[in-house]
Symmetry: C2
């Protein structure tokens, strides 16, 4: 009976960690979605709210760290339980970075004033964000359901994001060449696009860590985490 | 005697972790330094070597993870020892990212062919890299010596890097406006600069984690981790 009680408490503690991870992932997803909306609508109030929200994600990461350390010290877990806890520490790091990406995008809103001229870019940017956020949502689902199939799906789709990002990079550089008044704006958009593309990378980091948590092995295939824009040159 | 032996082995294991961290930090520093050299000299062979070297840093990160988990499982450490191990996991994550920054810079070398025209930018870029690499080297020294004074020094100097980066961003955008033939090149340089600036951020992450490892407390002051370029606008 006592043993059952102990096991039960341990499960409760692991569930606490998992709940924090899920909350961080949902908040991160929301921040990225809203930050792009703030760019497109040139909504300074929304941008300010996103910037303020980031502190909450930072706090959650520290809570995960503190709780993880407390659980390890108290329970002295082995093997799969230990990987579960160490995995939570790593994953919360990636999720905190996703919040930073949202904050970085939101901080550029004030400097981008010519929104009405750039419908085309915003469509592409939205497409990139949709892809990255599907990756993030699926990494969360993979975490909740411990699904190797979803892990594989996320890893496979990373290349698609890279390709959309590379196209967008090319279009932004072309727009800079065609209209010098747009250069500052497009430079900011380049970084917004890069931030969104990074969300996809973090989603793949998360499922790689999850794979390790489930199997005890690091994904054997070196995954493609490619920013292909380095191949773009003038000629 | 037996106890002494156990304690001694534990110290050896912790030293193994620390040695891996120091090796990662030194390799990361070298990669960043050489990646900028590859850009400035337009040295494709050097760039290829840096890109290949990154896999080594990835491997070291996995070794830290595996060893950390093995130590926790075997020794069931408490308090400061546990923070030491968890801290190593976090810090190796930041160091692995620094390697990624070096690789990202190196991958852009092939697309940047007009090196001779850009002495001015390269001087500024070198200045930025020098600052960031001092931060990284001091974070390593702080780690080796557990120095709160060095932690504080690294946290304070982060603003200086941000200011140099913001100037460089502005100059690159101006250069794009003045000469459309330089737009692609300058777009790549924008990202190289951003990658270098991120090295400084990772150095501050490392000393913040170190502060936690030493004191058990998270740095109370929200440090300024500012990319100020978001304030740059056309007018």
């Amino acid at each position: 009976m006592a043993t059952q009680h102990i096991v039960h408490s341990f499960d409760t503690e692991l569930r606490f960690l998992a709940a924090k991870i899920i909350e961080m992932s949902e908040r991160g997803e929301n921040m990225i979605r809203l930050s792009l909306k703030a760019v497109i609508d040139n909504d300074l109030a929304l941008a300010a709210q996103i910037i303020a929200d980031d502190a909450h994600l930072d706090r959650l990461e520290r809570e995960v760290d503190d709780k993880a350390i407390a659980i390890i010290a108290k329970r002295q877990p082995m093997a799969v339980d230990l990987r579960e806890i160490i995995g939570a520490i790593r994953i919360s790091g990636d999720l905190e970075r996703i919040g930073d990406m949202g904050k970085n995008i939101a901080k550029r809103v004030a400097a981008m004033k010519e929104t009405h001229q750039n419908t085309h870019f915003y469509r592409q940017m939205q497409c990139l964000a949709d892809l990255a956020l599907v990756q993030l949502a699926q990494s969360r689902e993979a975490y909740v359901n411990r699904s190797l199939a979803l892990i594989e799906a996320v890893l496979k789709r990373d290349e698609e994001i890279d390709s959309v990002y590379t196209d967008l990079f090319r279009h932004l550089v072309e727009a800079m060449a065609q209209d010098r008044d747009k250069i500052t704006l497009c430079a900011h958009l380049l970084f917004c696009a890069k931030n969104i593309e990074r969300v996809g990378d973090h989603a793949t980091n998360i499922v790689e860590m999850l794979y390790y948590m489930i199997t005890g092995r690091h994904p054997s295939l070196e995954r493609v985490r490619e920013d292909l824009t380095h191949q773009i040159c003038n000629n």
